[in-house]
């Protein structure tokens, strides 16, 4: 078995795969360049957001009859994970109302570009927090309380309000969307899973940006703000941190920014930018999809009691077990898998590098695993949305005449078929991504193939665990 040094083999990536520039449509380009585009969508979402908060605070405590629970954790979640993330990447971040108040205060306006600098204390975000570790921790913290958050309207309302408040507080101290980029627990996984999405924002010609002295997309212009996500579009190679706010489209005097349609998963093969915090996010998300499937969809009442904080000792045990699996267990096993892959491939790549790179192969299976989990409860509980639409607070209203629509699981006969199909697609795609990532680290295809085998075993074991939970 030969020993090879690490190679970054861009020619084997599909980085240059076919794209269709959507912004060639004059109508779409004009829409995205309009200053009203993002605020208008955010204000619409803000209406639903306020309704959810109000329903959570003053509506019925019965979650399945409360707008806050049904529309946030069933309707919004399903749209996010099934439609928005896989197809439109960070589109949710475009329309999310949570950072709105902080951003509007900082800008002293909602739609128009207010002259002058952003109004904040101008602190610099700590260098050691310029990653998604905070988002990983925040997501895990939420996950530990998921049985409470997902079922108690008042807790959901306070959580939403807390996120808005945190966004406002951070906007007082720091310029731009520090909350979205470094803190939001949802934004972390949206960013990672957006690497699979079919939409990307890119510059048309990087040389134009390099030669452009004023960098209007970063600094801003009298008509637009500098990138609120603190990204330079000129060297944007992947979508993890572009919030699709379209400010750069408005700013660029060279008309060099494009919104493209692209193949699924294109960014997963971009070697530049892979990091340990993102790799951990991939592992945490995969672990959480499995754990949620067991805790929330499984038949074991004792775990639900623990998760529901029936006793403090039970919840402590649950939290310890949850963290042990998500933070230590699964990542630890995957570290051994990376070690086995290195041995099988016969390469001298540092194990940490291989661990990080190969973790991106978990993204497709993680995403389809989350969609499969979502299918397991959305179709079953979807009819609650119909009645809640007419009676969002559970006060007996009948706004659209649908309040009496009874709860009825729909299409349960296709749920398991859908779950199996999703998991198989995710498995196959993940194996292909693992191979292509391994190929970036090896000199030959045979080495890459051998290196893929341990990862494939891991992916297969995860798939079979999902199947056991859903069908076994």
């Amino acid at each position: 078995m030969s020993t090879q040094t690490p190679l970054q083999r861009e020619p084997h990536d599909r980085v240059g795969a076919a794209r269709i520039e959507l912004t060639r449509s004059r109508w779409l380009r004009a829409t995205l360049r309009s200053r009203a585009f993002q605020p208008a969508l955010m204000l619409v979402m803000l209406f639903f957001f306020v309704a959810a908060v109000l329903a959570g605070l003053v509506g019925t405590p019965a979650g399945n009859h409360n707008f806050a629970i049904v529309f946030v954790w069933i309707v919004w979640w399903a749209l996010l994970i099934v439609v928005m993330v896989p197809f439109f990447g960070r589109m949710w971040c475009t329309i999310c109302p949570i950072p709105g108040p902080g951003e509007w205060l900082q800008r002293r306006g909602v739609v128009r570009r207010t002259p002058g600098r952003l109004r904040s204390l101008g602190w610099r975000w700590p260098h050691r927090l310029r990653n998604i570790w905070l988002q990983n921790a925040g997501f895990l913290a939420l996950a530990l309380f998921s049985a409470i958050v997902l079922t108690r309207p008042d807790v959901t309302a306070w959580l939403l309000l807390g996120m808005v408040l945190l966004g406002v507080v951070l906007s007082v101290f720091y310029d731009n969307r520090v909350f979205c980029r470094y803190v939001c627990p949802v934004g972390g996984f949206i960013g990672l899973y957006s690497l699979t999405s079919t939409i990307e924002l890119r510059v048309k010609d990087t040389r134009v940006c390099m030669d452009h002295a004023t960098k209007d997309c970063v600094i801003g212009t009298p008509q637009s703000y500098g990138c609120p996500w603190m990204v330079f579009p000129g060297n944007l190679g992947r979508d993890a941190y572009c919030g699709l706010c379209t400010e750069c489209l408005k700013a660029c005097p060279k008309d060099n920014i494009a919104l493209n349609l692209r193949p699924f998963g294109a960014d997963l093969l971009v070697a530049k930018g892979r990091r340990l915090d993102e790799a951990y996010k991939a592992l945490i998300m995969l672990s959480c999809a499995l754990l949620y499937s067991a805790v929330l969809l499984g038949p074991w009442g004792w775990i639900k009691d623990w998760a529901n904080m029936a006793t403090f000792a039970g919840w402590t045990t649950y939290a310890a077990g949850f963290l042990a699996i998500a933070v230590l267990g699964v990542p630890g096993v995957f570290w051994l898998i990376a070690l086995a892959a290195r041995t099988a491939a016969g390469v001298a790549v540092p194990i940490r590098r291989l661990f990080v790179d190969l973790a991106y192969s978990l993204v497709p299976l993680g995403l389809t695993g989350w969609i499969a989990f979502t299918a397991g409860f959305v179709l079953v509980n979807g009819t609650y949305a119909v009645s809640v639409l007419s009676d969002p607070f559970g006060w007996g209203w009948d706004l659209f005449g649908t309040r009496s629509v009874p709860w009825r699981p729909i299409l349960t006969e296709v749920v398991t078929v859908t779950q199996v199909a999703l998991l198989l697609v995710g498995l196959a795609y993940s194996v292909v991504v693992a191979y292509r990532i391994a190929r970036q680290q090896t000199a030959s295809e045979a080495q890459a193939w051998r290196g893929t085998l341990p990862v494939s075993g891991f992916l297969c074991a995860v798939t079979l665990t999902f199947l056991w939970l859903y069908l076994g």
């Binding site: 405590p61 019965a62 979650g63 399945n64 009859h65 049985a147 409470i148 079922t151 108690r152 929330l296 969809l297 499984g298 038949p299 074991w300 009442g301 004792w302 639900k304 009691d305 529901n308 409860f377 079953v380 509980n381 609650y384 709860w407 699981p409 349960t412 006969e413 398991t416 199996v420 998991l423 198989l424 498995l427 196959a428 194996v431 292909v432 191979y435 295809e445 045979a446 193939w449 893929t452 085998l453 494939s456 992916l459 297969c460 798939t463 079979l464 199947l467 056991w468 859903y470 069908l471 076994g472």
Partner: protein, 156 residues
Amino acid sequence: MTRARLWLLLPFGALALVVLLVPLPFAPAPVTRELTVVARQFAFEPPVLRVNRGDRVRLTLEASDVVHGLHVDEYGVDARVEPGIARRVEFVADRAGKFRYRCSVSCGPLHPFMTGELVVSPNLPFVRAVGLTLVVLAATLVSLRRLPPGGAPGTT
């Protein structure tokens, strides 16, 4: 995908069809099963019911705390039970696989996640799904493996 790879994947397609369609022998004589399920916030005891296909299931449903319901996916069974008053439902387990039964009466915060499982053997959907997973994995790995010069047999 190249023509050579398509040829290479053809046997796996055939194997997948076999996994999906082949009838697996299993024929225990149907019996009548008397089972009791106790519903409480937010679980059923026992959490998993195991029967064989064709069995007649006589289910006694009890509630130990508040009013609960029982809805068995794909079986059309629906019942409501109050504490202290047992309820009986009866059905023939004529479909194999795993089916969730759920509380159908709002009973508290975790009500939407109050589920149990009815496993009707032989659990062919699970067996076929596992077989299909192995076929898909093998097909993917084989398709990634570099083909020998000249491509797969029959494609030159």
